[in-house]
Amino acid sequence: MAELESVGVLEKKYSRRTFIKGVIATGATVSSASYIVPGPNGLRAATVQSSTERLITLRVNGQDRRVDVLPHETLAMTLRYKLNLTGTKLGCDRAECGACTVLIDGVNQYGCSILTHQVRGREVTTIEGLEDADTGELSVVQQAVMDEGGFQCAFCAPGFIMSMTAMVNQNPNVTREEARHALSGNLCRCADYDKILTCAMRAAELARSV
């Protein structure tokens, strides 16, 4: 993260306008319930919004996953309640805490603030996708956290680890100051910031040695 993201990029990633545009494009309306979860498969009733699910294919953790998705459904909800990938946490429901951070084509984004329909054809990576599925080998960031004993309650950990992953992939020579900036979109209420930065620096060190 040697250079800052431009305001334009941030706007495109996170702004309410982009989010609403996505909703409009998919033909749904935004209501106060727009961050709310649909039920498990087979239990759906017609809702007041008369919205209908569409079967789509998502690319998640290297696998094609077929899933029924509502037009206004957020990626975090699809992951958690349709694909049972509960490692992605919901801490605030709206882009304040970063607990739901996932990678979209390698870029860290808030899963609560991106519509599932918007990630069709893109590579989604969640915390469950970092460990080598065959060998059980941890990613360099996960290994760094193990080495340094990172996190306390760890509810924020998956989000931080995804942001750290994007960070070391982009710049394994990151400095402590740059790492702080790169991770500033994630909140840790236990305020384990000092140790998280130490983990980040260890992760960068491991990434350089790979």
Binding site: V37, G39, A45, G87, G91, E128, Q152, L187, C190
Partner: protein
Amino acid sequence: MAERLVGADISPPDLRAKITGRARYAEDFRAPGMVFMKLLLSPMPHCRVRNVDTSRAMALPGVIDIMRASEVGEPSDRPSEEMLTDEPKYEGEPILAVAAVDEETAAAAIELIDLDLEPLPFVLDPLDSLRPGGPNAYVGGNQFSGQDGWTEYKWSQAEFDAIERGEMPNPLDMPVQWEKGDVDAAFAEADYILTEPVVHQSLTHHPMEPRSTMAYWENGRPFVYVSTQSAQRTKMSMAGALDVDPEEMTFVAEYCGGGFGSKIPGHTHMALAPRMSQKIGRPVMHRVTRYEENYIGRARPGFQSWVKMGFRADGKVTAIDLIIVQESGAYGASDYNSAANIADLAFTPENMRFRGVSMYTNTPPKAAQRGPGGAQIISMLEPLHDKGMREVGVDRLQGRFLNAPVEGATFGPRNSELTSIHAREALMEGAEAFDWETKIAMSGQREGSKVYGVGFGLSPFTAGSRGYDGLMVIRPDGRLYVYQGVGNLGTHSIADTVRPGAELLGLNWDQVEVIWGDSSRGMPRTSIQAGSQTTHAHTRANYAAAEDALRKIRLVASRRLGGSPNAYNVDNGVVSGPGGRMSFAQVAEAAIQMGGELDGSTLPDTISERETVPAAQRLAGQGLMGVATDNYGGSGSIYSWQSGFALIQLDHETGVVDILEYVGWADCGVVIHPRSLNAQQLGGSIQGMGMAMTQRWVFDSRYGVPFANRLYTARPPGFHDVPLQMTAGAVGIPDPQTPIGAKGIGEPSVGAGAAALNMAVMDAMGGNCLCRTPLTPDIILAELEGRPGPWNRLEQLVG
């Protein structure tokens, strides 16, 4: 030789699950046929539900049922919180619950419910309720006792006139008051007297994980998945709320995404999902959103206070006169009592008077928040003490050293004693790590519009308790299985409290399995995970069980191999002595064959019959059992100490504070897990900085509704709010009254961090004490520019 476990950095056994997404918090559990519940929150700060029409909601396809207050509690005029209510006492209090096939439908149904509400008078600021003729939070009054029921407590106009004149009021009949020494005489002899009104804001806990619950019933037995700080204690309170035998319930609390006092024995609303599930016969997920967490998630009570401190010319504090009016929310709080005790303990005035009143208000419920009472009072008094040192011309650090307690100090109205005190060591070792001499030379120096400030705090809090049970089994695989009833709230105590006992048994850490978070596995009688007591309480309980296990291992060895039991020693999972050696695996098998007390077939009558016995009975016959109660005894309260030192820059043009450096130093006895200890110190200190600076409670005083109800409006500190690198360490002197020597540390750090920041800001303003929180830029700027802010100086919630 087996490895040393105490004092080593060992990553906790749950870490891999936490970082791979496998760790399951309450909202991560699923059950076939699971439906969703949502709460209808009161839109008014105080009202009575005249009528509810649910017909349109029930007609919505997908809506399953609605639960009302009358189904989960009895109407009462006592200030006791129920799960649902027809007389909400704060905006956001749950009125009813809706179950539907999905959360969206439940939310849509809530919108279709027609409510007929009768608005009632409300009050947000305690001082408003204290005024003659002022409003009360309850219809019956603003004070409640079991004996007298509801009464009104008001100050006379004379008190408010005194406040207007900038004086300390002198109410004579405060509900709580105590005095020790001769306060008036001490003030008469004092060389310098300081009197200040001080306001400490209320603020929400906001743990990262909202308090979601999932529950279902099978064959009349509840299965509940909860977010809670404690495990066994919460299991017992949940069983009470559901009116079931605790042993008939499967209670799962494997992970907790933070609580900070807001989820101690669970929480009031955790029983709603199981009650709804019982009603509708379906598994129920109650996902709590951040917005809802703001209302039902608890908050720290704020104080409006007056402090009078008397100083001798040599810097000794000789008297403190303290008045606290506590903003106690809808259902009360008791922080002000511990605040007064800690003021006495931390500054050793010898002459002290405390007068306090807890005022009900129509704001979200209050609860202990990390260092309850202590964090507020240390944050408030350290800057005043510092001001006193400046006035009498005593070195700031030396003056604090002088007024810190030493071994044998007593405090509070009952002259309580402590097991050990190394406050001065924590202060001076912290100062050295901070490089006090260099930093204090920077105090007041200007770089452009920015001015350096240096501050510190010395903060005590409770750190232990006694008398709980430990339970462990060495199985025929040769490994030690330790059954923990403590909650997994991020402090690593599920594992760290096992270490001294495992070390006694001569085990390496990879020979130890910790079992936690699921009551069906067996949980012994356990403390609540609050008051920083777990490290002290459960190193002792597990050590007692380990001593029991060691006695039994030696007994088995002597029976099988001959010789005296005491001639056998353990190391690396092997017991050896005059007759030869046995592996722990062989010992476990022999114990099962021998039966009796050795494998838990018979149990000691000292352990808790209601809690530990059922847990131990589940495990009987599985191996060699260690089970015992902590009978180590001890006298006096158990407290730990935290010093904190901050170097800041205050921008006099923008009012923005930049915290450049922070050092924390603890007196918490023997250090079990250095890395985790440092994380507790620094994390707690940063929470204190958030309490003092970034988290701001703002209410609309006209309608009684909070504006700061999300993370971005009541913002906990983020990466850019804290120094790039921080330092922590510990005194490390063992507490003599516990065989392990270790005490807890979670709580005192909040007061230390807040005090250090408050004092540093004061220092950067040339010693001008703002004497209120939060220290947001607009408040600081108004003070710097000498203009009135958009708030009344004593106002509680419009900070």
